[in-house]
Assembly symmetry: D4
Homo-oligomer: 250 residues x 8
């Protein structure tokens, strides 16, 4: 898929060092490993800069173990597992050095703290109940080499709590705004700063919240510029995207 | 339906000044006038403090004229007609002294300014496009005898525009927060003041706004206390309710 | 944020009793206390007239205990905790004098009955199953110093049950109409009285009720004036708003 | 499909008066006439008691003319055409004796008034704007041989207007309750009478009405027994059903 | 509310046998009994022909017991309790002679079979899983004095199973069509017979069924005339309505 | 219903070997067997080529046993039971030779592998969590006599994993694309091959996935031609349809 | 992308007849032609068996002309243009020999009738108003070389109209069931035949039809096997898919 | 609001060069200009790096003219007006040097091309009909000083059209993926590159597209990391956000 790879194969065919059927197989063969229930994408680190992240929900502890084992040779540290149930974490903790956070259900195999970007990411929440999603974002960003500042419970119903932190917000390279209920936090932050704001609607609330729909629609309709939205409760996606943005600045 | 009325009828029966069949008819007869296509509720002024308001949408100019004529004897001034199309307004303006506002489509027959409550009502909008709905609220409240202060285009994407008016807001007896898109204005105002906030979602916006659904859900899920919501674009309902609340204070 | 506070700080700067950096910090510093997982808003009693209310859902008993402890110095009685699970109530009952209602899941620390408004609030329900939400509203209003009258199971399918209480309704300063299913109660009450009607849709029902959506839409579309709506099952919000309105009258 | 028809065919086969291939065709042949764009169901009058009704929407005047011509031989009078646009009505009026109502867009070819049932049907509306749908119901029922009583603009916001007519309602064999907005009329009527109540939600309203969804859900969730619902704005369906019910009583 | 009652009271006033304040109380007093958590409507049997039915969901066994005790003096047999959980049934069975059906969760106190109408009601289901809702309808109708014929598992995917029973269907006074999934049964039956068809969508199905929404919408849009719809899974409502219709014929 | 059956009955009537009443019963009698709770459709094998499949959800083990027993005489092998809970499978396994797959919850009585079509069916999934639905499709197709190739975890986020298998896809007679989340797999496969693509949205995902709605809408709006969609999680339906298509080719 | 193409390029590299940079370009170069506003996919005829079809909606007559001109060299006849507005058709008719159908808005450049498959496709509609969508399907299938039989207005409300054509249906290789309103036609046809049924929901109807949603959900939940669904009003997609299926049989 | 501003005011108070009441006004006064119908936010350029952008929809030409006049002194070039109707553009073009694009409805006052960031932004569309939204994004980004590369009509149904441009995509600092229908483009691009992907769902499509809902949900559920979403048809928001991200890199 990548031009260098294709050119190198063709070079070998021209050299006579490769017969055309083997070359064909090489061109066709994509760099993944087939476990049957999963196809591990080793090329991803090159293509996207970070190794494959394991989405733990709906996988057995055994399947996750298999995937980790397949990844380890190419990716010896900081293998991120999201939505990892406690029981599976317990099992995996016996197989690998696993750092596990019970609030966000994030697990990290061979966790090694490392700062690879100079900017910082602010993770803000509207309320106390949004913290699990916020921690998923924060831990993801930290594992991917970013400095993270947490501003929890600064919802718009007491706007002065947010305004008190305006300096922190204005220094960030990217802000992650995590909020349920009416999700107004994203718009208010979006109006206060000039960096990208990644809005994460949460399913926190009840009634006409409809499992996060109200916050989702609210954030999509933000009248502030610079705001984009990820899926409801998708802390990982926000942390990952914030990390990409933060690494642009070097 | 009202105890005084019932007691008075019974008194007359006991007095012998009323035979029981006439009394029965009187008790059964509710105080409305039947125009065929509409039943005018003359009792309403007594029961609810304000005369019947005419909802102009879906009625012909002739039907509205008929209803106004039926109301005039009992209610000689300030007959409010909402959602009155321009053409119907033109026709009615030839029959009655009609004050008509093209932005909010409000018409008032025999308009007489009068202040019957001591407090004031703030009508705030998120943007310029919310003004028609806001004016429906403001004119309704003014017609019902209230002092109204307008704060337009103070949406949360530039929160300082709102904060600059915090004193006006804190002095109001009731605030009407009119906003489309993400509707965050209601929550922010709700967090800043201690009076009732009546939230009016508007259909202003596009896409995932879904004709006002995003603002509606956002306002219903407000994390601020003291906020309640009326129908999308229902400026009249908000102005009417604010007037009732403002008159409680005398 | 409040003009008096700003003026006083500036006065001290002019006096020389305050250097400009401390003044800056004072102006920036908002009056809240940071517990990490929550930011307690001590200024709120001044700003909104009532202390912060604790939304118990999604918080651990320990977190609630921490917040109560932070509030007590400034707010020695009637700290309201809504949606408090029974187990958390048991734990908190061992730490503080806690009045707990199992039906509405309301807890009150250092409950002291006190009447601070002269009017009364009617809380009406359509059916027996709406009582938990109604009690959340009623207890909230009582804790905030209001007299409350309960009219339960007066749904519109037997309209005479409601009409029998028309005198009570017509004397109220505010009515809270709590109903699930088709939510028609709010419209009927709205047509009978001239005070604000706060409609609370409940999730009581099944099928095309869609967890309260039918009652919510019904109430938002009420053809009666003076009706506004809070979130599905939000008894607290209705009780709080009714209290604000009831205190306008003094 | 009908047992008599099958037995008669078999009889003829046994008699030798019919060969088996003709018999097979007779058994297979259903009693309809194929116009290409429509298949006229002549058997329907026998099967369902009334001739096929023509749904005018989405058909050209020419197509409707063709269907009427096909129906006339078997059904010389009272051919009902619903949702007939004015222009098509003008054209058809030149071909047949057509009675046309501009409000409900109902057309009737060779209209002949006739009373075939002893009971009566009440058609009630919440407001003036619901009248077109109500008239579709009323005219359908009248064309099908029923006596109809109209109670228009008796919505629940002024409940005494409805209660004044309680005697008329209690004498009906069936009541059709036509209402938009919050659709509470059906429940209130359902609670007042003991006959079947056919609820017709209308698309009258705006905002969170969502084109009749609020009234539809409200009516489906009616807490009154004896209420069933037809499609939004489906006056014809309600009138037709009420007629069937009214004819059960003879 | 009823004319006879009013006239009789007035008569007594005129007679002097009643003073006007007592008369006023009598006119105001509606014939229900207040249990606090429920208001028993003794007038209903007169007003609607059947006694109050107890909706068991969301009530404690104790509350139901209280309501039954309040009803028994006026209504000694066939007190219907719907959605009665098994545990509550067990308790009630120790207090009263209770007939309980585990499939439909219907309980009947002092059940006495009795046929009060001459026609019959057909209850048809699309599949085996619709039977609990169908039984709720069938048992309700039987308790209210009707003869019921059950046609289960005659869904349209094997239309000949339904066509085989066309004679039974054509003899019914009313048909109840109970179906989940695509809910086509109502339309097909509606096209085959000339009596009222009461459609009951069920929540049977999965995926794009959305808890009965697909069947509900399907039935509301039925292209067959004579079909009306009740709430999803509302077997009781269908049985009750069918009984009213069946009793019209005497 | 089938012409041969009708002609043969008529022949016997003409022959005198059948009296007309017996003939009538034969014509009316549809070839199903009534178990009370279910009507077994023995004619289906002739009419549709495959025997009735048992939908296990919502049926008791005893009911399923009864249906299997009724089917066995006419259909001695490969009786398919979908959505069969483990406990029911355990019981049935004691009554019949049952092959049971715990992942897809498919049970097969008297399973006999047999290849009756020459083409092959590809079953592809977007992720590991879609495998249960995919296996329902694959096992259904295999039981119905098809060769099936599985391509699991080839979602579009790593498109090279899919492109590596382009040859397998281009050789298939039909492809089943099983995917949750954004469901893009169907469109991408649809653009790569020229055979029918049966898209199966799954409920895999969270948040704005809304239980499979996002994948469902995505697949219905596919910009690729040749794609059609079955219900969310309906692996059986896809496998069945793919088998029909695969057997067209012989 | 196709193995033969890759192997041939590699062969040339080995032969020395191609230098590696040209080879690289050839491998990278996909066989489409870039018009700026559109990328014509010449490879598609090889990859999918039919040339690119032009979706006319949202394109100017000039853009369509450009695409046709780009396609003509490789595809001299039967270029299909769907959703072609009349005005655009008029313009294009002056540039090319265009066959245009005003009902379905299908245009065909250089139309040449040709039968390339031996089976036949039945296109059935529920009503007269569904014909435009049905014709889009029928004309698409005919243009792609199939024999098509039309069965219009055979909706389930008069099921005998459909049953009369059971022989035609049972001979088809594929059936396209086009229906709006409750969409039951697909299920009934699905239960009668053993070939693939492609269900096309239409937006025909009103009210709770919600622009085709009712028919869509109904068809997705079909209890008949062998049914799959395309987008609302997507006649083209159904005709295209039916053609692919019909060509499997040769 | 900004620390420097506050400190400078305090400095002047301490200096005695400012009395405390003027200082108070200065602190309270936010830097906006009130036009009555709009409040121009002059501070925004400092706070967010770009001047206020004018959302043209729902504003009169006169209102827009007024806002432009208010902005010009502080912002002499590149004033962006989105959703500007053609007639308003004509009027404004007579008042100011206006560059207007009819496809995207973007107007720019005093347009001056300028490159202020070193990276580039790719704007890709699924089809030809998505171009208007894409151009809104592209022109916004260009006006804000970015280099933009357009890749139009590279939808996933012909994935090779996209793969041919993989090098362009992999060099971008940010990619904007604009697509309607099933919106799969965002996921596929997200899987191919390692920069932020801003997904813009469009309302292009019909039927179950539901005005862009299908693409919106699809993009929110993207299984690719690094993807975030803006409102349906919100090209401006995507272009603005991409510009912010592109300027991080310098």
């Amino acid at each position: 898929m990548e031009s260098k790879h294709i050119l190198s194969v063709l070079q070998q065919v021209q050299d006579g060092s490769l017969d055309i059927h083997t070359a064909y197989e090489k061109l066709k063969l994509s760099p993944f490993e087939d476990l049957g229930y999963a196809k591990i994408d080793h090329h991803r680190k090159i293509r996207q800069g970070v190794p494959e992240v394991i989405y733990g929900a709906g996988k057995t502890a055994g399947q996750i173990e298999g995937i980790v084992n397949a990844l380890l040779p190419q990716c010896p540290e900081n293998i991120l597992i999201t939505r990892l149930p406690e029981e599976a974490a317990e099992y995996l903790g016996q197989q690998f050095p696993l750092t596990y956070d019970k609030i966000s259900h994030i697990g990290i195999v061979n966790y090694t703290k490392r700062l690879t970007a100079s900017g910082s990411i602010v993770v803000a929440t509207g309320g106390t109940s949004d913290i699990p999603v916020a921690e998923e974002a924060a831990l993801t960003a930290e594992t991917l080499g970013n400095q993270v500042e947490r501003l929890y419970d600064v919802g718009v119903a007491g706007i002065h709590r947010l305004l008190a932190h305006i300096d922190n917000i204005s220094k960030a390279t990217a802000v992650i705004a995590v909020a349920g209920m009416e999700g107004a936090l994203a718009s208010v932050i979006g109006g206060l700063c000039d960096c990208p704001v990644i809005a994460v609607p949460t399913s926190v609330g009840y009634g006409a919240n409809f499992q996060g729909l109200s916050a989702l629609l609210s954030m999509l309709n933000s009248c502030a510029s610079g705001v984009s939205v990820v899926n409801i409760d998708n802390g990982f996606g926000a942390g990952y995207l914030a990390s990409i943005i933060n690494h642009i600045g070097g």
